[in-house]
Symmetry: D3
Subunit: 169 residues, 6 copies
């Protein structure tokens, strides 16, 4: 598989035909980070002890976005996720990682004919955007970084683990 | 404005009340990057000379996503964008920037009561995800990096330019 | 099952993982009522003999809403309904029930890994809201009452019938 | 205004033409209740002290649903809400009101040509459905009751207050 | 204006920037036809005397689709329609027009910065598709024909009337 | 099957119950045409050699619309397409067909309990509307014609070929 599967021989866009693929259990795990200044980080963390905090809202937004992936990404197949998990973890600055950040990790599953990598990545992206939205009044310089697939299982291509994933957490 | 505007005094989520804000012309510019290996980069660039290439599809997906921002981000206001531009530019490796990447820049505008930062950031994010989707068969290790607001104009808070924006292009 | 399945041990929201659940035939039946004044009731009933009446539009809105349940309810799984029925019945006042009302009943089915209670309840709710919308110019005091699950079949928890369902029809 | 505005003289459905209406500031307030057993009520209340609780998720779902009202209710106009507030309050049983319940209240605003009653009612309905969804594993007999408009302001018909609203809170 | 406004000088897709356009009252009228065999036509017409007939459902679907135009057509601006009308009229065969058909006409209005031609055309198209859907069990050979803009008013380009529109009704 | 399956015996709308239908592989092929003047045709064709051309955008819009069919057509079942193909072909005028046009053909597939005719027809319709949108600044008199089902396979009713399909290509 050495070529772009979504573009056919004539250069046209193509939704990959998965009709003949077998139904297998599939899952994908992705991550991403939102970097911010110390003041914003402190506000997020201190709010974390009350209801309605920004992390909970970003988590819900990420779960909902995973369900809408095929609506957002033009050549994604519609599919029926059986599980979506999104977790946000504030990471205080350390010597090696001096800027405060929130780490986002997602896990999506289904039994189907196509993988769920895009659902996992979309969940992380929209959770990150939601975090940005809720803090932008105090910190417009936040950055979203390091969105990547960590791992996938199932399907013909089998198990995949992103090289950098071992050290990413 | 030293606090999170989307969480009220009781810790509840809050869609900021903009009823009394004046209608002004507003715009926001955002950017982001997708890093990939050389083979993937070459496939994207060579396809760029034919119709239906991945950059054109990612661009369309970004424009459409901007229009759906209030559906994706829970506390965003619905609004009527008057302009959305998304541009993708392959950047071949250089000495300073040794990994091949595609740079994505968006520009959103409207005349309204609330800013369009989230629309610009959402356009970049979904264009990046679409690029990932179309190339993932050849390169699962692509990463989405550096999504940030470059600039905004209009509204009470006036002109804002991200500190790093000056050198980013 | 003595706890809230949608909140995990850390207090985070959770879309229940149904990956390992078996696919069984499932159905759910729900009901609800819209109470109104006599004049509004008469308008609805008299229009019922012509095409384009409010009951037909409310019915269509209820069917469509059932299909969008996972878009509306954050932790609902996307699923593929195989049947949606919505029925609206004007109920003239009686001695026991002196206020005119319209009764709404829905029935949803699928073969899947998760139940369709929320789809049935969403169909009833949106049909009721649509009825309100179409009559609100003449009667803003209408009330939506008694939305409940009547019965469900299929899945691990088996057959369920709401205690009050026996007398509700 | 003694007739159904959404049905024209030929009995056809009709999206009311508001082109000539003036833009005024409008708001609407609605309420509703979810009745449940004591065990479910206790679970909701005790979770209320941790992040990610069911009330916060139902609140977010209600806010998002308000923004999608014109997608759900066939003859509603699309409009740009400037404010949506949803509040959920557990009400422990009293002598007069012996069943535990959660009260939901919403407030929607915009400056526009048409009212926001349907948005306020939709927010309450979907928040109630979300509450049901998150507790249905422990209590399928919950009921959604008393969804009604409490008050509206703005527009040609001016101020309206539901007769029962004075005592409802 | 002698070129494609939606493609910029570099050949990229472009959502036309209407930020500087003035807000004027705009409207557009479109039509289309669904051709069918006599049996299908008779079923539609005879059902027309009962509630829930296919014409009423197609009409509702057309109105709803007009509201979703910017979601369907990638480079359309989001806008707030103030009026949508859809009318379906069965036309029995005549000497000049020997095949039974249903004529669909739509009218959309708003006060805004961009026209509503696409909304009017989308309403007709989806009403036609809905008619097809409801009759396809008896007549798969139905054809959708003659979808065109009849007339538009407002905006810089002013009044436009399709040449063939004069005789089309 | 001599009657309208989507209307029940009481004249109510009905989403056909497919719960008991067997899962079979199904596909449907549809076509349609957009007629235009020579100038518009030339612009489309000449742009076809650059990236971002109108045909590529219309193709993407058609693919995305197929995935949203059950959202647009009230009584369509939600389903999980395994393949969507949309192809647009400019057809220069000939003696028999003197007006320039673009032909659109779609092919949809899934393994499911219900057919995909509506998905194929919706893909063609929205691709045609998108073409219209992108060229309307130069040619408002374009017409969408000849949208029909060409062929379907699978399901109880088996293979169907539209009579006129043999000569249509």
């Amino acid at each position: 598989m050495s070529d772009l599967t979504h573009i056919d021989a004539q250069g046209n866009a193509n939704m990959v035909d998965v009709t003949q693929k077998s139904v297998t259990e599939r899952e994908a795990r992705a991550e991403g980070y939102v970097y911010m200044n110390q003041n914003t980080f402190d506000l997020i963390v201190s709010r974390g002890h009350k209801k309605g905090d920004v992390l909970a809202i970003a988590q819900i937004a990420g779960i909902q976005a995973a369900k809408r992936t095929s609506d957002l990404i033009p050549l994604c197949h519609p599919l029926m996720l059986t599980s979506v998990k999104v977790h946000l973890e504030p990471e205080a600055p350390t010597d090696e990682q001096p800027q405060p950040r929130v780490r986002i990790e997602s896990l999506c599953k289904l039994a189907g004919q196509t993988g769920v990598e895009m659902e996992a990545l979309t969940a992380v992206s929209v959770a990150a955007l939601t975090l940005y939205d809720m803090c932008k009044a105090v910190d417009k310089a936040m950055r979203i970084e390091g969105i990547q697939l960590l791992e996938k299982r199932g399907g013909k291509s089998g198990h995949y683990q992103t090289p950098s994933a071992s050290q990413s957490k």
